[in-house]
């Protein structure tokens, strides 16, 4: 935990041995965003965006850090971070799979696709597999109704999916990892 927010260039352990520790780049990016916004409390959402972008997700220590820097209560920062689905408080997996549950996709079987993945991976939508390989998410209409049901694999929108094709893709990711 300590390492995430290390600001000091050298840290000395208890025994007195000192070792070099470079400034975390991700923290640097976050600090630049905070400074660019002049520590304004109403820039919270922009700053959360930058933190999410740098770290991949918003872990409690990051939220605490932002709260301290902007002099906002942690409860407020946490409330905003949980309000928007785009912010994630948990680390996402190596691969992401977003199943569209917009009307068209749902009618064409988006729901079944979700259940199939959930059953296969043993996780719920919004969660990540314990080996940190796959994160499953759902979305409300991604605007690809023409190719419904659509699934986004690692950012690539793929149309006309069914449980079988989706599970194939997931299997491919899993074998890749092994």
């Amino acid at each position: 935990m300590q390492s995430i927010l290390t600001e000091t260039k050298t840290s000395r352990s208890q025994t007195g041995n000192s070792k070099k520790n470079t400034v975390d780049r991700r923290l640097k990016a976050l600090n630049i965003a905070i400074k660019r916004n002049q520590y304004h409390q109403d820039a919270l959402i922009e700053i959360l965006h930058k933190a999410q972008e740098s770290y991949g997700y918003l872990e409690p220590e990051i939220l605490e850090y932002i709260a301290r820097q902007l002099k906002l209560p942690l409860s407020r920062v946490y409330g905003v971070a949980t309000f928007y689905h785009l912010f994630s408080l948990k680390p996402s997996g190596v691969h992401s799979c977003v199943v569209c549950l917009g009307t068209a996709c749902y009618v064409k079987g988006g729901g079944k696709i979700t259940s199939a993945i959930e059953e296969k991976l043993g996780i719920h939508a919004g969660e990540t597999t314990s080996d940190n390989q796959v994160s499953l998410m759902t979305a409300r209409c991604i605007g690809a109704c023409g190719i419904a049901p659509a699934v986004v694999f690692d950012g690539n929108v793929t149309g006309k999916q069914d449980p079988e094709t989706v599970l194939q893709q997931i299997k491919a990711w899993q074998s890749e990892a092994e």
């Binding site: 208890q14 409690p60 942690l74 920062v77 309000f83």
Partner: protein, 889 residues
């Protein structure tokens, strides 16, 4: 209906400026149902229960947030509205996570369900109740996320504990980032509990459903804020404590000590009968034996060694009446002025400093000035911990736009809210205040008319400041010059400023000087004697103001009257039948020294654990063990009791009648809510009875009669004070006559002294500054959860909140000294040493340390040395040269 009127349910109402429909309806006696609304807070408008129909709007409007306007015709309870309310309420029951009826208790919410013929879902399923906090519990299943607790937390206490996570039907009330109640920043003030409409947040002491057989209005026995309490009791036990809603001091608010920490009253180790020393043991004796023994011993020692071989410490925990009688006993019967109160070791410098330059040794301002102030300076005080209700009021004032300058060696909580924090080296107030004065004058940010009319010594003061160098002061105080200038400009730009100060000024060898140089700023800015401005020292104990007022000082009689005042001596001759010598007696530290030397043979210590609280513990223990006779009046067998010859069991704050005077000079009536345990008695009774045994003709039947005598002894201050007038919020002295309303702002017309005095005092480093081999300066002080030496709070569940004293050390220092967080360290001054756990903290500046003194085993006061302010004799607790090393054993 004219142009200033509206109608509600056909009744005409005269519109008041800024009023909402809900408030206007309330004035007409029309109740509109609400869930998320509370008077005095910004309307949330979320629950929609208060919807009403208006002829000016097509759809129903929320009564809580819609201003009432001329010509409006409002209907509050039409069938359509009632149906709407029923629908809205039923949504809470229909949800995936239905609201259960918590503990079968009647709440505002279940009341509404009943009114609208809805059945609460009663479910005994084990729910995830958060019981992590010793005083509070949260049941998420009964929460309707109305946000009232969140608003109370923000708008009353200013703590921002609560948040709402998620959105829509997923939204939930959370603490911080979904911490437990105990891990959240909650300070347990109870504001949210009192407002929660569903009982989702409750006091755990209130889950006990024992009905109260009596409710008593009295005053809190903890700090000097003086909050008014409503104490519920049954069969002689305190059940729970609530704030008095309309109390001017606390405005319906309390803190974790006043509201919850009352169980010490019924602690099994209370002293319940008088004890007599027999060798190294103590034996119970009857009151009569105890009184005889005390009377006989006092007279024998007086006969053998003279009157000045005796002395008394009166207690700031006890009532005015007890303090008055103890000094009267020693002055009029023993005939010594060796009487002093424990304010000596806290605010004696404040009282003396203020009296010297203004003429009154007390606050010039009142707590109401906090809300009126545009600019507040807090110097050497940590109100959110030591005076929580005042701290919350200051925080709210700042959140509402008041500007704040904090002058403190620690980054206290309020420093986070401050415009400027001057983090000075401990013990360097005087040069810093002089520097601020220099900038104020140099940039002409002073009130010249005020200075011309009301103040003396201005020319001399300017000459003195001319010779001071800001750069030099910056290097002494470690505060940068530009920050000093910035602070002075901020204060100067507002002019009249409220100066809130505390022990960080008083408890130094330059304590009196610190207070007087702060008063310089009060005069330059034209603040003293003005509304929303002036001097507001925060007094530590419930009756520390009163104790000094009553004459618990060796040089002054009741009402700060000099011993040699011929008119007073004449008056005392007739009222007391005897007068003390004209020469002042000894202060507490001087009496301790005299006891160690063998010059003082007997002491009477009322409700004060000097061994733990006074500086230089080893010396105090030597002195006490040297006494021939020591009487102690106490609740518990304290450290000091070990040295006693007779111990008298005392009544606690909620067990006796009398008066307490708070930090804004407000004398309030204290009433017994429960009887004292066993044979314990109020202090004043015990003193009266000893006086009678000595042969005095004291026949006070009740403390009210003592107060009547006090009014006669000091008519200028208390002439108009009597129990019949002390209803509700009491009276603020000076109150010289029975038709005088009391005084909110002292020195309003002119200084009591005549003219205010600007003082020219230069910095004198204390003997603890720059001591070779002792690189750190230690500050001792208090934590929110505990009170003073912890005698009371350690016997309550507050003990679960904070379990020990810890030494705060800056992480940089800790790393350099190889001290891990939580590791025990040996702390050593030139006067003594102790072992205590270290805690890494950025609240303290590098090279300074902070240590509380709530636990006897910490022995904090072995560390504090013998240095006193030469004028007030107040010990220096706020800067002690120490060194430390990890404890390897």
């Amino acid at each position: 209906m004219n142009s200033q009127q509206a109608k509600i349910n056909g009744q005409i109402v005269n519109i008041q400026d800024g009023e909402t429909i809900l408030q206007a309806a309330k004035r007409l006696g029309i109740e509109i149902p609400t869930l998320c609304y509370s008077e005095g807070m910004h309307p949330e408008g979320g629950c929609r229960m208060c919807l009403v129909e208006s002829n000016q709007k097509s759809l129903p409007v929320g009564a809580c947030h819609t201003p009432i306007q001329a010509g409006m015709e409002i209907q509050t309870h039409t069938p359509k509205l009632e149906a709407l309310r029923r629908d809205i309420l039923s949504l809470y029951l229909d949800d995936e996570q239905p609201v259960f009826q918590g503990n079968g208790k009647e709440t505002k919410f279940t009341g509404l369900l009943q009114d609208y013929q809805l059945k609460p879902i009663s479910d005994s399923q084990a729910v995830k109740v958060d019981n992590s906090h010793p005083y509070l519990s949260f049941n998420p299943d009964t929460c309707i996320t109305c946000r009232l607790c969140l608003n109370a937390c923000e708008q009353i206490q200013g703590q921002f504990v609560y948040g709402i996570s998620g959105r829509g039907s997923e939204s939930r009330l959370v603490f911080g980032a979904e911490e437990s109640f105990a891990d959240s920043p909650c300070v347990a003030c109870g504001a949210c509990v009192d407002l929660c409409p569903t009982g989702a947040i409750t006091d755990r002491d209130r889950l006990n459903l024992t009905p109260a057989d009596s409710v008593t209005e009295t005053v809190c026995g903890y700090c000097g804020v003086g909050c008014r309490l409503e104490v519920e009791s049954a069969q002689g036990k305190v059940l729970r404590i609530n704030p008095v809603e309309d109390a001017v001091v606390n405005q319906g608010h309390l803190c974790v000590k006043g509201r919850y920490a009352h169980s010490y009253h019924h602690s099994s180790d209370r002293l319940t009968q008088p004890l007599k020393r027999v060798g190294e043991e103590f034996q119970p004796i009857s009151w009569d034996e105890a009184l005889d023994l005390i009377a006989e011993k006092l007279l024998t020692i007086k006969a053998d060694y003279g009157a000045d071989a005796l002395g008394a410490f009166s207690s700031s925990r006890s009532t005015n009446e007890a303090a008055y009688l103890l000094q009267k006993l020693f002055r009029s019967l023993i005939k010594t002025n060796n009487v002093d109160c424990c304010a000596r070791v806290c605010h004696s410098s404040t009282a003396l400093g203020l009296r010297t330059v203004t003429g009154a040794g007390a606050a010039s301002a009142s707590y109401v000035d906090i809300e009126k102030a545009k600019c507040i300076v807090i110097a050497g005080a940590n109100p959110t911990e030591a005076h929580p209700v005042v701290g919350a009021r200051i925080k709210q004032a700042v959140l509402n736009g008041a500007r704040l300058v904090v002058i403190d060696p620690r980054r206290i909580e309020l420093a986070e809210y401050a415009d400027i924090h001057l983090q000075l080296l401990p013990g360097t107030n005087v040069p810093l205040f002089n520097a601020l004065a220099k900038v104020l004058i140099a940039e002409d940010l002073i009130d010249r008319d005020y200075l011309n009319e009301r103040v003396e010594g201005f020319e001399e003061f300017c000459t003195f400041l001319n010779n001071l160098s800001l750069e030099e002061i910056a290097s002494i105080t470690t505060v940068e010059t530009n920050l000093i200038c910035e602070a002075a400009r901020l204060i100067g730009s507002y002019g009249q400023t409220l100066f809130v100060h505390g022990l960080g000024l008083s408890e130094l060898t330059q304590g009196t000087a610190s207070v007087m140089t702060l008063c310089n700023l009060g005069m330059l800015t034209g603040s003293i004697g003005r509304e929303g401005a002036g001097m507001l020292p925060l007094r530590g104990q419930n009756n520390v103001q009163g104790n000094a007022d009553m004459g618990g000082m060796p040089n002054l009689i009741t009402g700060y009257q000099p011993l040699n005042n011929p008119e007073l001596r004449q008056r005392l001759e007739s009222l007391w039948g005897g007068v003390p010598p004209e020469e002042p007696g000894l202060t507490i530290p001087e009496m301790i020294d005299a006891a160690a030397r063998g010059d003082i043979h007997a002491l009477w210590i009322q409700g004060e654990d000097v061994v733990q609280s006074d500086n230089n513990e080893t010396h105090v223990r030597e002195a006490l063990s040297n006494l021939d006779f020591l009487v102690v009046q106490e609740l518990f067998f304290s450290e000091t009791c070990q040295y006693a010859h007779v111990i008298l069991p005392a009544a606690a704050a909620l067990e006796q009648e009398g008066t307490f005077t708070n930090g804004e000079r407000r004398i309030q009536h204290v009433r017994p809510a429960v009887p004292p345990p066993g044979e314990a008695r109020p202090d004043w009774e015990a003193i009266r009875d000893v006086a009678v045994k000595i042969g005095a003709n004291w026949n006070y039947q009740n403390p009210g009669e003592v107060m009547d005598e006090i009014a006669q002894v000091a008519p200028n201050f208390f002439g108009g004070v009597s129990y019949t007038r002390l209803k509700g919020d009491g009276l603020q002295w000076p109150c010289p006559s029975s038709d005088h309303p009391g005084t909110v702002t002292v020195h309003a017309e002119h200084f009591i002294r005549g003219k205010g005095q600007l003082v020219t005092i230069d910095y004198i480093p204390s003997p603890e500054h720059g001591v070779a081999g002792y690189p750190f300066l230690l500050i001792t002080g208090r934590l929110l959860e505990h009170y003073n030496v912890g005698t009371m709070t350690r016997r309550t569940p507050n003990q679960e909140l904070v379990t020990e004293d810890v030494l705060e050390i800056h992480p940089a220092d800790a790393n350099r000294e190889h001290i891990a967080d939580g590791e025990p360290v040996n702390l050593e001054s030139r006067w003594g040493s102790t072992t205590v756990k270290a805690k890494h903290s950025r609240r303290i500046a590098p090279n300074t340390l902070f240590l509380s003194f709530h636990y006897p085993e910490t022995h904090t006061n072995r560390i504090t040395g013998p240095h006193l302010d030469p004028k007030s004799k107040c010990p220096q607790y706020k800067a002690v040269a120490v060194r430390l090393q990890p404890n390897k054993s």
